[in-house]
Symmetry: C2
Subunit: 198 residues, 2 copies
């Protein structure tokens, strides 16, 4: 207990929590003004008055930073590639299982429902979440399909996922709330499968 | 022009616009406090201090009164029976076409989007719309199916419709906005068909 100076980890840039908070604030402003697609790590760094490297150091990718700034409880950009990489004839079922098993966790569900309410309820925030989902969910699924209408197919998948989350977890339609996850995967998985490959 | 008294139509109860406005106000309060299922024409009439017959006279059924009070732009209670009555192997396509052709009309779309934003954005109004849809859309579809899991099937249909409206008209995913109605009917109709009869 003779050392009272704060310990500085080797290689960590200077600035500490101040810079981190400033970057996060700049990210919220930048995403709010220019949307997800229109913002870059570089533009957020400039707004915060720091180097891009520091943003990457604290937060990783743009998707990571967005998830942190907006409080996204699910990371399609991280999880979807693995889901798409498995056996093709069960991709639909795996996508639905992934979404449902996440939302069955109380903390993810709480944040997810709040995010859906905010994003749908306000004209200002709808395009922001739409931009993130277009790029990180729909874009990633579409890229894995080698067809002309890949974006439409992936967007139809998004429509069924959005409707499922809305009716089961936000509106809470009694008949849907009562159905076990496995049963929903059996019923909705083939829809996603057909939208993607049918 | 010698007659200056207001013309009273034969058989029309007394009260006029005052009663009409009072019933509508009572309906908003009653639906807000007790939800759609928990409110009755009788309870709304009592709240407005009028006879139930007057409520029926001005507004028709409970669904009619709700549609008027909340500004519902689509009347599933009126339209769904006809959709279900046609050839069974095209029910899914007819349901999707009905919803899309309605929302392609600017005035219905404007009111519909506003209603979705309000209902999803606020914890108070979500159960109200859910109650109406459970009874007048899901309930009507379920009754037409002679199976044990009719409510689940009809709720799955509602989930795809809700997701379609949300992604095409509220979030406005670019790939979905660009697809013609006929194409969407071809792609999503079979989903509804499978949820109902698969």
């Amino acid at each position: 207990m003779t050392e009272s100076r704060p310990v500085r980890r080797r290689g960590r840039p200077r600035g500490g929590t101040d810079s981190r908070a400033r970057i996060l604030g700049a990210a919220v402003d930048e995403f709010g003004e220019h949307g997800y697609e229109g913002s870059t790590v570089r533009s957020i760094a400039a707004r915060a008055g720091v180097d891009s490297a520091l943003v990457h150091h604290y937060f990783g990718t743009k998707a990571d930073l967005f998830a942190e700034a907006v409080g996204i409880p699910l990371r399609p950009d991280v999880d979807v590639p693995g889901i798409l990489a498995g056996p093709r004839d069960e991709v639909g079922a795996r996508i639905i299982r992934y979404v449902l098993e996440a939302f069955e966790q109380p903390e993810i569900r709480r944040r997810g429902v709040m995010l859906i309410r905010t994003a749908v309820g306000s004209k200002l925030t709808t395009p922001l979440l739409a931009g993130f989902l277009s790029r990180e969910l729909i874009g990633r699924i579409a890229k894995s399909l080698d067809v002309d209408d890949a974006e439409v197919r992936a967007s139809l998948v998004a429509s069924q996922i959005a409707g499922l989350l809305l009716t089961r977890y936000v509106v809470r339609l009694p008949a849907l709330v009562a159905v076990p996850v496995d049963d929903l995967v059996d019923r909705i998985g083939p829809t996603v499968q057909r939208y993607l490959f049918g």
